[in-house]
C-alpha cells in the first residue's frame, strides 16, 4: 500500500501545477471518493476511520514538515501532533475545504510556530535518499553534467540543498516545499497558507531566487 501511495505521490509531485491530473487521479481512486464518509465516521468517534485518514495523508504531511524542519525527529513529533490536533478539532471541521487541506493547514501552522520557537538551535537530521534517486531524470541530468563543480555526490548535494532551504524564511521555505517538492498547485498552497494566489507566486519567485543564490556553486 505504501508503494502504491508513494507512486501516486511521486506521479503527483513530479510536475508542478498539475491540479487537473490530481483531480483525475482522485476520481479514479475509489478510496479518494469516500473521504467525506471517513470524516463523518471519525467525527462520530470511529477511530478506525480516522486511522485510515492518517494512513492516507501521513506521508505527504510528514514530508512537508520534514522539508520545513530538515530534522526527522522534529518532523515525527509535529506530524503526530498535527493528526492528534486534527482529531480533537474534527467537530469544528465544517467541510468547507477538504480534510486533506484542513489537516495540512494544522500541520503547517504547528510547524511554523515550532520553527519560530526553535530559532536559535537548528540541527539537521537528514533522511536517507532512496535508490530511485539515481534513476530520476532530473537528477541524472544534473549529476551527469561535465561541470567539475557538480562532482559532489548526492549526499553532499542533499546537505547543501537543505542548508539552503534553512536559510529561507518560513513562508518562502513552505512555498518551495509545497510547490517544487510536493507538487501542489498555487491554488492549493493559497488555501493552506490562507493567502491569495498572487502572494504564493511572488513568494515562490523570491524563494527560488534566494535559493539559486545560495546554491550557485551547484547550479549552472
Amino acid at each position: 500500500m505504501r508503494e502504491a501511495t508513494l507512486t501516486m505521490t511521486e506521479s503527483i509531485s513530479g510536475k508542478s501545477g498539475d491540479a487537473v491530473n490530481r483531480a483525475a487521479v482522485a476520481q479514479a481512486d475509489p478510496a479518494a471518493v469516500d473521504e467525506t464518509e471517513l470524516v463523518q465516521r471519525a467525527r462520530k468517534g470511529d477511530l478506525g476511520a480516522y486511522d485510515q485518514l492518517i494512513q492516507r495523508y501521513q506521508e505527504r504531511i510528514y514530508a512537508t514538515v520534514c522539508h520545513m524542519t530538515s530534522n526527522h525527529e522534529d518532523a515525527n513529533d509535529l506530524t503526530q501532533e498535527a493528526f492528534i490536533k486534527g482529531h480533537q478539532a474534527l467537530k469544528s471541521f465544517k467541510g468547507g475545504s477538504s480534510f486533506y487541506t484542513w489537516v495540512y493547514r494544522i500541520a503547517v501552522n504547528k510547524t511554523i510556530n515550532f520553527l519560530k520557537q526553535r530559532k536559535n538551535r537548528s540541527q539537521m537530521s537528514l533522511n536517507d535518499i532512496d535508490f530511485n534517486a539515481e534513476h530520476d531524470p532530473d537528477l541524472v541530468a544534473l549529476i551527469s553534467d561535465k561541470n567539475p563543480r557538480r562532482e559532489a555526490g548526492l549526499t553532499e548535494l542533499q546537505e547543501k540543498l537543505n542548508e539552503g532551504m534553512q536559510k529561507l524564511s518560513e513562508p518562502h521555505r513552505l512555498v518551495v516545499a509545497l510547490h517544487d517538492v510536493q507538487g501542489l498547485s498555487h491554488e492549493e498552497i493559497a488555501k493552506i497558507m490562507g493567502c491569495n494566489i498572487g502572494t504564493v507566486r511572488s513568494r515562490l519567485f523570491y524563494a527560488r531566487q534566494q535559493l539559486q543564490g545560495f546554491l550557485a556553486d551547484y547550479l549552472k
Partner: protein, 152 residues
Amino acid sequence: MNPDSENFDSLRQLLALKRHEVPPPGYFNRLPRDIMARIKAGDIGDELGANPSWFQRFLSVFDIKPVFAGAFGTAVCAFLVSGVISSEHTPAFAADTSTPVDPLANNFPSGLTDSKEFVSASNSAPIISLFDQPSLQAAPVVDRQFYYPSGN
C-alpha cells in the same frame, strides 16, 4: 511576475532530490499506530499538557484557524478605541468641575427652599467644637510690666 516563466530549471532539478528523502524503514507503519495510541490515551499534544486550562484551550483554537487570532486582536483593539472615544464624549456637567454643584439644591420643594427658615445642609461655616482642641502651639508670651507706687 510568473515564477514558472523564469529560468529555474536547474534549481527545480536539484529540488527533485528532496522527493527521494525517505524516513527510516517501517516508519510509516509505526506512525499511525503511535498516533492512535496517543489519541486513545487521551494525549492532547506535548504543548498543552494533560489538563489544559481554559486559556490553553482558547490558544489552541488559533492553531487550527490563525485568522481567529487576527479577529480577536482586532476585536480587542476596537473595544479599546471605542472606550477611548466614548470617554472623550462624556456629558458636559460631569466634565465641568469649576463650579461646585450642590447635590441637595434641587431635591427640596421650591416653597421650602425659598423660606427664610430654611437652613441649607451644605453649610460652609467652620465647625465649632464643643471641646477645646489640644494644640502644640505655644501661647504667645505677654510682656507685662509691674508698677509699684512710689513712696513705699
